[in-house]
C-alpha cells in the first residue's frame, strides 16, 4: 500500500469519529458563514468547533435523539421549533445555567438583556441568536413615479403594477395581509388570537392579489425575481436583501411596515456528544460582543439589546466599511411598524394554516 493511499484511508476512516469536536448544525450559506466568522473565529479554541449544514426542522434532531445516536451538539432552529424541541425533550433544559451567560455592560443578564429588546426567552433549552424578518423589498428603478412605501402598496396592483413574489408557505404573508387590511402591526397577533374570522380576513386580503403572485420556495429566489424584473416587489428574508445591497452593490429598497420579526435560537441537543464544550461555546456565541460581531457579515439583528448598542457605537460596522444600521430590521422606529412574531401561537396553529394556505394557492 502506498503512503498516500494509507493516509487517505486513515483520513477517510477517522473523519466520522473526529473526537472532541463541537458540531453545530446550521442553515448554511451566508448565514452560517457569518456565524463561523463571528462565533467560531473569535472563540478561544476555534479548532474544536465544526459547523455542519442542515435543512432546518426538527426531523433530523428527533431521529438522532430517538435512535440514541446523537451527532450534533448545538442546532440553530426557528423559535417555534425551539419550543417544541424543548417540550419534547429533544433539547436539554439549560435554564439553570443562564446565570453563567455573559452579562451586558450595564449588568443585565441574558434574560433581562433580551427583555430590554422586547423578547422573553421562549425556551429553557436554548440561547438567543438573531432577529430575522420577512420583509418586502423592491427595485426603485421599477417604479419611475411613486415608489411603494406602505405594506398596503404591496397589495395594490393598480397603482403599483407588476407581479409580487411570495413564498410557498403562510407565515409572514398572512400577517402582512392583516396589516395591509388596517390592523395595527402591534395588534396583529391579538387579532389572530381573539377575533374569530381573523384568518379569513387575511385570506380575503390575499385574494386581492392572488393572480399576481409568483411563488418562490428557496431564499435566494426573490432576489433573482426582482432583479430580472419577473416581479416588481417580493417578500424576502431581510438578510438576503441586505447582503445583495451591501456586498453585491444591488439597488434595492425595503418596505419596513408590516415586516414580521422572527427569532432564531441555538439549542443544546439532549445527549450532545461534547456537552461541556458545547455549553461553553453557546455561552460565547450568545455574548453581546459575538452577537454584534455577526452583524459585520450579515444584516440580521442581535436579540440582545446590548448587542445593538455595540453596533451603533461602532458604525460603520459592516465589514466592508459601510453603515449597517440602515439595514437592521430592529431599530426602534422600525420596531414600531413591525409585527413581532408569536412563535407559541404559530406552534399551535401553523400546521393548520399552512394546509389552508396550500389549498388556497392551488385553487
Amino acid at each position: 500500500m502506498s503512503k498516500f493511499f494509507k493516509a487517505f484511508l486513515l483520513a477517510f476512516l477517522a473523519f466520522p469519529f473526529a473526537a472532541n469536536a463541537v458540531t453545530v448544525a446550521s442553515w448554511g450559506g451566508a448565514y452560517t458563514e457569518s456565524q463561523i466568522k463571528a462565533y467560531k473565529d473569535t472563540y478561544s479554541n476555534p479548532d474544536i468547533i465544526q459547523f455542519e449544514n442542515y435543512n432546518g426542522g426538527l426531523g433530523e434532531v428527533r431521529a438522532q435523539v430517538e435512535s440514541g445516536n446523537v451527532a450534533w451538539d448545538l442546532v440553530d432552529v426557528l423559535p417555534d421549533q425551539a419550543i417544541t424541541g424543548c417540550d419534547e425533550g429533544l433539547f436539554e433544559d439549560i435554564s439553570g445555567l443562564y446565570g453563567d451567560f455573559i452579562a451586558a455592560d450595564n449588568g443585565d443578564g441574558l434574560i433581562a438583556d433580551m427583555e430590554a429588546n422586547g423578547v422573553t426567552n421562549l425556551s429553557d433549552c436554548c440561547g438567543p441568536q438573531i432577529f430575522w424578518t420577512y420583509v418586502v423589498f423592491f427595485d426603485p428603478d421599477a417604479f419611475p413615479g411613486n415608489k411603494p412605501s406602505r405594506i398596503a402598496d404591496f397589495f395594490d396592483v393598480e397603482n403599483f403594477p407588476g407581479k409580487r413574489g411570495v413564498h410557498t408557505w403562510a407565515n409572514g404573508f398572512i400577517q402582512m395581509a392583516l396589516v395591509a387590511d388596517g390592523v395595527k402591526p402591534s395588534a396583529v397577533y391579538t387579532v389572530l388570537k381573539d377575533q374569530t374570522g381573523a384568518v379569513d380576513r387575511a385570506f380575503a386580503k390575499m385574494d386581492t392579489i392572488k393572480d399576481h403572485i409568483v411563488h418562490w420556495s428557496a431564499g435566494a429566489k426573490p432576489l433573482e425575481l426582482v432583479k430580472s424584473g419577473e416581479v416588481s416587489m417580493s417578500i424576502a428574508y431581510n438578510g438576503r436583501v441586505g447582503a445583495a445591497v451591501l456586498s453585491e452593490g444591488e439597488n434595492f429598497e425595503y418596505i419596513w411596515e408590516g415586516q414580521l420579526l422572527e427569532q432564531e435560537y441555538l439549542c443544546l441537543m439532549t445527549g450532545a456528544p461534547d456537552r461541556e464544550n458545547a455549553i461553553d461555546f453557546l455561552i460565547h456565541s450568545t455574548s453581546p460582543a459575538s452577537q454584534a460581531e455577526q452583524a459585520k457579515y450579515i444584516t440580521y439583528g442581535p436579540m440582545r439589546a446590548s448587542g445593538i448598542d455595540i453596533i451603533k457605537a461602532g458604525e460603520p460596522w459592516f465589514h466592508t466599511g459601510i453603515d449597517v444600521m440602515p439595514h437592521m430590521p430592529n431599530t426602534p422606529e422600525r420596531l414600531k411598524v413591525s409585527v413581532m412574531g408569536d412563535p407559541e401561537w404559530w406552534a399551535d396553529n401553523g400546521a393548520e394554516i399552512d394546509e389552508r394556505y396550500a389549498a388556497w394557492m392551488g385553487n
Binding site: 435543512n55 432546518g56 426542522g57 426538527l58 426531523g59 428527533r62 421549533q81 417544541t84 424543548c86 417540550d87 419534547e88 425533550g89 407581479k163 410557498t168 403572485i213 409568483v214 411563488h215 418562490w216 420556495s217 428557496a218 430580472s228 424584473g229 419577473e230 407559541e344 401561537w345 406552534a347 399551535d348 396553529n349 401553523g350 400546521a351 393548520e352 399552512d354 394546509e355 389552508r356 396550500a358 389549498a359 394557492m361 392551488g362
Partner: protein
C-alpha cells in the same frame, strides 16, 4: 425398484461414508458458501429496505405513546355519553395525569394532540403549571371541571373534547384518514375535514396527473429519439447518445434552474416570442412556478429513463422484420404498427414504469418550479417530517404512495404481463 435398492449394499466413499451422506455434506458446504456470499446483500436489503418499510407501516397506525400518558383520561372519555361537556371523571383523570405526568412524556403527547386540534399544545402548557401547584398544595378541588375551566376557558371548549376522539385508540387509522382529508367526529365516525383545509386529495390527484403527463410526454418524445439512436450508423448514434447522456449526468439542480431561466416571464422563451411578435410584451406566458413548469422540467429530467430502455430494446429488433413485412405487402405505417411497435412494448413498459415511479415521488424539482399549483405529495411528506413532526401522517402518506405503486404494478402485470418488461 425400491426393493432392489434397499437390498443392495450402500455405495461407500473412500472415507467409508455412504455416498449419499458425503454428497449432502459437500452440497451443504456449497450451500453455506453460497449463502455467505449473498448474506451481506441480504443483510443490506433487510437493513435498508425491509426494516424501514416495516417501521413506516407500523408508525402509520401507531398512537400508543399518547395512550401511555393519558390512559385513565381516555378510559373515562370512552364512557362519556358525548353530550355537552365531559363529566367530572374525565376532568379529574386529566387533572391528575397532567399533574403527575413526566414532563417530556407529556410534551411529546402535546405535539401529537395539536395535530387533532390546533391549540391543545398551548392550552395544556399554559395551565399545567397551575394544575401542578394545586396538586402540590394538597388542597384538592371539589370540582375538577370548574377548577380547570376557571384556570383557562379552553377547558370548557367542546371542540377540544371532540378532537380527543381521534386519539384514544392505540392502533389507529386516523393518519390514513387525515391523508385523504378526513377525520373522526366525536363519535368516532369518519367525516370530511374542515372545508378550508382540504387539500390532500387534490394533491394526490395532482401528483398522479403530473406523473401520467410526464410519463406520456417522455414516451412521445423518447420514442423517436430512441428509434433514431438505434438505427443510425454507429458514429452518428454515438454522438447523439452523448446528447442524451450529458444532461443525464448534469446535476438535477442545474437543470431545474436552467428551466427556470428558460421559462420565466422575462426568460428566454418568452423573450423570443415577444421578439418575433407572436405575443405582446404584456402577454408574456406564465410557464413556470406552476404545474406547467413542473411538467416541463420533470419531463426533460426523466427523459433519459425512457430513452435508454427503449433504445436497448430497439437495438436488438432485426431490421429485416420491417423489410419482410413490407415485402409481404404491408404499407410502412401498417408494418410499423403491426410488426415494429409490438416488439418495443417491453422497452416502453420498462421506461414507462421507471419514469412513473420516479415521478410520483419527485420532490426537489416540483419544490423549485412548482410555485402555486405544481407541488406534489412529496412536499407534504417533507413538511410533516421536518416542521410539524407528525411522523404518523408522513408514514401514512408514504404507505399510501407504496400502495398506489403496488396497485399499478398489479394492474400492469394483469394487462401487459411483468415478464414482458425489459431493460435491455
Amino acid at each position: 425398484m425400491e426393493v432392489f435398492i434397499s437390498t443392495t449394499e450402500q455405495i461407500l466413499t473412500t472415507d467409508g461414508l455412504p455416498l449419499k451422506v458425503s454428497l449432502k455434506k459437500a452440497e451443504r458446504k456449497n450451500k453455506i458458501r453460497a449463502f455467505l456470499l449473498v448474506f451481506p446483500l441480504l443483510l443490506f436489503i433487510l437493513v435498508t429496505f425491509v426494516v424501514p418499510i416495516g417501521d413506516m407501516l407500523l408508525r402509520s397506525v401507531d398512537d400508543s405513546h399518547i395512550n401511555t400518558v393519558f390512559p385513565n383520561t381516555f378510559e373515562e372519555y370512552r364512557k362519556w355519553d358525548r353530550n355537552d361537556l365531559p363529566p367530572e371523571e374525565v376532568y379529574e383523570a386529566i387533572f391528575f395525569e397532567l399533574a403527575t405526568g413526566e414532563g417530556i412524556q407529556v410534551g411529546k403527547a402535546l405535539t401529537r394532540m395539536n395535530y387533532s386540534k390546533s391549540g391543545w399544545k398551548s392550552l395544556i402548557k399554559k395551565t399545567r403549571r397551575q394544575i401542578k401547584k394545586i396538586y402540590k398544595s394538597g388542597e384538592l378541588p371539589t370540582s375538577y371541571k370548574d377548577t380547570l375551566i376557571d384556570i383557562h376557558e379552553g377547558w370548557g371548549d367542546t371542540l377540544f373534547w371532540i378532537s380527543m376522539a381521534q386519539m384514544t385508540e392505540e392502533r389507529t387509522l386516523i393518519y390514513y384518514w387525515n391523508a385523504i382529508d378526513r377525520t373522526y367526529d366525536i363519535d368516532g365516525n369518519v367525516v370530511m375535514q374542515d372545508e378550508k383545509r382540504r387539500m390532500y386529495v387534490k394533491t394526490w390527484i395532482r401528483t398522479l396527473k403530473v406523473s401520467v403527463y410526464v410519463t406520456f410526454f417522455c414516451l412521445i418524445l423518447g420514442f423517436p429519439v430512441a428509434h433514431l439512436l438505434a438505427n443510425l450508423p454507429l458514429r452518428y448514434s454515438n454522438l447523439l447518445m452523448i446528447f442524451v447522456l450529458l444532461p443525464f449526468w448534469t446535476s438535477l439542480l442545474v437543470r431545474t434552474t436552467a428551466w427556470i431561466v428558460m421559462l420565466q416571464q422575462k426568460g428566454v422563451i418568452n423573450g423570443v416570442l415577444v421578439w418575433l411578435g407572436i405575443i405582446d410584451d404584456d402577454q408574456r406566458i406564465q410557464m413556470v412556478y406552476n404545474m406547467t413548469g413542473t411538467i416541463i422540467a420533470m419531463t426533460q429530467i426523466l427523459l433519459p429513463f425512457m430513452i435508454l430502455p427503449l433504445y436497448s430494446v430497439m437495438k436488438v429488433i432485426p431490421k429485416s422484420h420491417m423489410r419482410a413485412a413490407q415485402n409481404l405487402g404491408a404499407k410502412p405505417v401498417r408494418a410499423f404498427i403491426r410488426v415494429y411497435l409490438p416488439q418495443t412494448v417491453p422497452g416502453m413498459s420498462a421506461g414507462g414504469l421507471l419514469v412513473f415511479v420516479l415521478a410520483i415521488g419527485y420532490f426537489i424539482t416540483p419544490e423549485l418550479v412548482g410555485g402555486k399549483d405544481g407541488q406534489l405529495i412529496g412536499h407534504w411528506i417533507a413538511y410533516h417530517l421536518k416542521t410539524t413532526l407528525n411522523w404518523g401522517l408522513c408514514a401514512a402518506i408514504g404507505s399510501i404512495l407504496l400502495a398506489v405503486m403496488l396497485v399499478l404494478y398489479w394492474l400492469y402485470n394483469k394487462i401487459v404481463g411483468i415478464d414482458n418488461i425489459k431493460l435491455g
